[in-house]
Assembly symmetry: C2
Homo-oligomer: 181 residues x 2
DNA sequence: TATTATCGCCTCACTGCTGTTGCATTTAGC
DNA sequence: GCTAAATGCAACAGCAGTGAGGCGATAATA
């Protein structure tokens, strides 16, 4: 791919992620305009709207996969891995703010890939409990959900937090809650 | 208003809330069909799409306001009020699953009303800290956000939980987190 | 039962989004 | 500098959603 084409593709994906996160009904025209390209250029690269959506999701999944690899969730000590995972996933969530859960239902391939990544975090949560870092009576799916929600909240509703600050906050809340001792 | 008209209106609002929560781009036709009403009936009652949206939000805000009144957030003991609030707000969130935060920006009146309700919960969070139920070093806006997220998660991602069960789970996680002692 | 508010059905016009094509122009890479 | 890829621009067709109006039928209420 030519360099200018790569630049434009990147701009389109980022603009698409941003606009579609604000309003899932955003038109192709709006995405094209925000990315500084002509509407027809978008249609040349992506056969239809769904294809654009899929490409944006792929980009998000690529970033997330890197984070999962770097966090070493299966090997590193639980506290270290958790903190590192949150610290790295917050910027990804900010760069690609799309809600993958509700917008990906028409893309089976991406959906499967997402579930694979999700399973890796689930396994980490399970290991955390097995190693005694989580209470034994906690439902694992609930723990997983809470972690996701805290990450999303810190990433999007507290945009001024740096990733390390966000990680401190999320991990502390996840482990200890907000109640007084 | 005639009785049948009231029935139809109610059906439209509930169907609208459900469908629009799943897909914010749901068409008026789809809402009408789901409510068992003709499309033109919808257009007669609501001048445009925005008006329908506003009406759905109003319905949600009405329900939420009842909950805030009944929970007695300013008077009842903090643990009691918190548990009662969560227990009552979970069904509201389930009945009106729309995300008020992102879909209400074109409705200033509803937006203001939402902020007023939000302020009541904020005040309760502040009281909880002042009375020693929350750690003193916790950011109040963070605490508020976490509570909202936990409620949403319990309401929508764990639909089989009864409201009391959901309240137990949310309150325990909010106060104590998920970490081992 | 009589009245009338409400509804369903049909039709129409309008708009915005999608997707395609042809052609001239620009730009990256050799 | 040359070549081919990529783009911008204009125009077009098709489609879905929106919103309005008329009219006969239906159902609530007095």
């Amino acid at each position: 791919m030519r360099a200018d084409a790569a630049r434009n593709l990147d701009a389109v994906l980022r603009a698409g992620a941003r606009l579609l996160a604000e309003d899932p009904g955003t038109s192709m025209s709006a995405v094209a305009a925000a990315a500084g390209v002509d509407r027809t250029t978008l249609h040349r690269r992506f056969a239809n709207r769904e294809a654009l959506l899929s490409a944006v999701f792929q980009a998000k999944l690529d970033s997330a996969e890197n984070v999962l690899d770097e966090a070493r969730l299966t090997e590193a000590p639980v506290p270290v891995a958790l903190h590192r995972y949150v610290e790295k996933i917050v910027p990804v969530s900010r760069e690609w703010p799309l809600d993958t859960r509700r917008m990906m239902q028409n893309d089976p391939a991406a959906s499967i890939r997402r579930q694979e990544q999700s399973a890796r975090v689930d396994a980490f949560i399970r290991r955390s409990r097995d190693e005694g870092y989580l209470r034994g009576d906690v439902d694992m799916t609930w723990a997983r959900t809470v972690l996701d929600q805290l990450v999303d909240a810190a990433a999007h509703q507290f945009p001024t937090l740096t990733p390390p600050q966000a990680a401190d906050l999320v991990v502390a809340t996840f482990m200890n809650g907000l109640g007084a001792a």
